[in-house]
């Protein structure tokens, strides 16, 4: 890029560049590539973490797909992914409200993002308390004479999953709103002004001006929160339902945790689950890579 220097100077630069990235490459090979390759290999064995590690071919995978709660886990992951469209829609609405810069908007922006700062352990526990049988929600419902609604929210599959979706959505609105607000700040104000001059009302501006212009930001937000929902919500599930009742609210990643502590150490089986998770994430990431390439083309 900087063409002022000579070839010999250029050679020094080359070695400096390579030297600079050696530490990160070494760390990634040890902490990420090695265990990933290991997990892929062990997924074809009956590994128990000790000396037993016989090659059993696709046995773990057949076991997972035919004779395990896998499809229940898969269903749960799909249900929890429902929170992504909810988050994005609510995030857009909040971003549009913040964009108007009414009195105190900076303070509101700070508070909107606040849940992201609170530990998932704390938020999960608050949700568990709130939806417990004698918890605040049921107290309110009974107080309103709606005793029939005062059910055991976390004891039924549908409502327990519903509580998790609600929790993930509540937690993520702030992140979505800030990311989308960042995308909106790139839209020039004249676009809004001319839309207003043309008589576009608030909703028309949101749907016909804002959303098309930040479609890339929305794409990024959707992909990131999909990956996040599939891999990073352990603490929420652990504190709210612990995956129960039974495996009714466990997800694929949560099952890896369960298998880790299970008697007999079925680590080969757990590795196969990890590989399946990896493949799911990978297919989402391919879309993300396409997106990243597009961005670097602009620069």
């Amino acid at each position: 890029m900087r063409g002022t220097s000579g070839i010999s100077f250029g050679k020094i630069k080359i070695s400096q560049g390579v030297l600079s990235i050696i530490p990160v490459i070494v760390i990634l090979i040890f902490v990420r590539f090695y265990p990933m390759v290991m997990a892929i290999y062990r997924s074809f064995t009956n590994w128990n973490g000790l000396y037993r590690s016989d090659w059993i071919g696709l046995h773990n995978y057949i076991e997972i797909f035919t004779n395990s709660p896998f499809w229940k886990l898969f269903r749960n992951s799909l249900v929890l992914l429902l929170s992504v469209p909810l988050q994005v829609i609510l995030g857009i609405l909040v971003a549009v409200l913040l964009y108007e810069e009414v009195r105190g908007w900076r303070f509101f922006r700070t508070i909107v993002y606040l849940p992201q700062i609170i530990a998932a352990v704390t938020i999960g526990y608050l949700f568990r308390v709130a939806f417990s049988l004698d918890g605040p929600l049921n107290l309110v419902l009974r107080g309103m004479g709606l005793d029939f609604l005062g059910i055991e929210w976390l004891g039924n599959t549908a409502t327990a999953l519903g509580v998790l979706v609600f929790c993930l959505t509540w937690f993520s609105i702030g992140w979505q709103a800030i990311v989308i607000l960042g995308g909106m700040s790139k839209i020039s104000p004249e676009v809004f002004e001319s839309a207003k001059m043309d008589g576009a009302n608030y909703w028309q501006r949101t749907f016909y001006v804002v959303i098309p212009m930040i479609s890339r930001t929305i794409e990024y937000a959707v992909i990131m929160s999909m990956v996040w929902t599939l891999t990073s919500i352990f603490a929420f599930i652990f504190t709210i339902t612990a995956g129960g009742p039974g495996y009714e609210t466990s997800t694929i990643d949560y099952m890896i945790y369960i298998k880790f502590y299970q008697a007999g150490a079925p680590y080969g089986f757990a590795s196969a689950l990890a590989v399946i998770l990896l493949v799911i994430i990978l297919s989402i990431t391919v879309v993300e890579m396409r997106y990243t390439n597009k961005v670097s083309e602009w620069e």
Binding site: G17, A39, L98, F108, I117, G182, F238, L278
Partner: protein, 278 residues
């Protein structure tokens, strides 16, 4: 006149909506704090009560003296601190290379490094656990720190590389003409000029590592090495526990991250919103 009135009305409406959302975000924290200073009986009588109660700090005293929460704080701080030190020392040189130096296959390597961000930690934890136990690093802070550095370095490099790209090449050239070597350039040009990205990484990964549960829960099983979140998660999973006591622990554990956020919130928000379009 009418449009002016409409504008005012819509502003009031927006204000009220944002206020409602803010209350929905703040009330749970208030609820948690209020009940942590109530007696257990008062809590079971009415968890919403605010006035006319006999308040007590007893839960906090027990948290500190018997649950020894500050000892757990120490563990969490050590892990966060060394994670950040390693992230910065590895991340700054690598990002300098990706942003300002030329070498073969730079863009391919960059994309490979960044894409490791998407390897889920669950896919690597069992092999890593067994590896760490072989070299006797389970129950050591270092196991968690190494895991964190591997997990977060791609994002750190993503953030810092885009930050460092904005540093003018002329400054680096001028420093080199003045006889600055590799580390001089980093020390006197890259670090001062790239300060916003570096600061953002420090703040952001302090909060992330402080709040994380999964990795330390697997790797730190001895009581005296556990992080505050691991210890609290264990306390919370006892259904028989006293909620007011548990609330007190959660309030204490939330304070460091909230303090950091209070001081640097504009920074964080700016960083998050920039990250979206970079």
């Amino acid at each position: 006149m009418l449009s002016n009135f409409n504008r005012k009305l819509s502003n009031v409406l927006i204000f009220l909506l944002l206020l409602g959302l803010s209350i929905s975000n703040l009330y749970p924290l208030f609820y948690m704090f209020m009940n942590s200073i109530k007696s257990r009986t008062d809590y079971y009588v009415d968890p919403f009560s605010v006035f006319g109660l006999k308040l007590t700090w007893e839960n906090y005293i027990t948290m500190i003296s018997q649950f020894r929460i500050f000892n757990l704080f120490k563990n969490s701080f050590i892990i966060s601190f060394f994670t950040i030190i390693l992230l910065l020392s590895v991340g700054i040189v690598a990002s300098y290379a990706f942003a300002k130096l030329n070498f073969k296959w730079k863009n391919v390597i960059y994309l490979l490094v960044i894409s490791t961000m998407f390897i889920p930690v669950q896919a690597t934890i069992i092999p890593m656990y067994l590896f760490f136990s072989k070299i006797h690093l389970v129950n050591s802070y270092w196991s968690v720190i190494f895991m964190y550095v591997g997990m977060f370095i791609p994002e750190v490099i993503l953030l810092m590389t885009s930050g460092f790209r904005g540093i003018p090449d002329e400054l680096i050239e001028a420093a080199k003409l003045d006889g600055a070597g590799y580390f001089d350039v980093i020390r006197y040009v890259i670090i001062p000029m790239g300060r916003p990205a570096i600061l953002l990484c420090i703040i952001f990964y302090f909060i992330v590592t402080w709040n994380d549960l999964f990795t330390p829960m697997i790797l730190l099983q001895s009581m005296d090495k556990r992080t505050v979140m691991v210890a609290l998660a264990a306390l919370l999973s006892r259904y028989s526990g006293d909620p007011t006591f548990q609330f007190a622990g959660l309030v204490l554990a939330s304070i460091p991250a909230i303090i950091v956020y209070a001081f640097f919130q504009r920074f964080i928000i700016k960083g998050i919103s920039l990250g979206s379009t970079k």
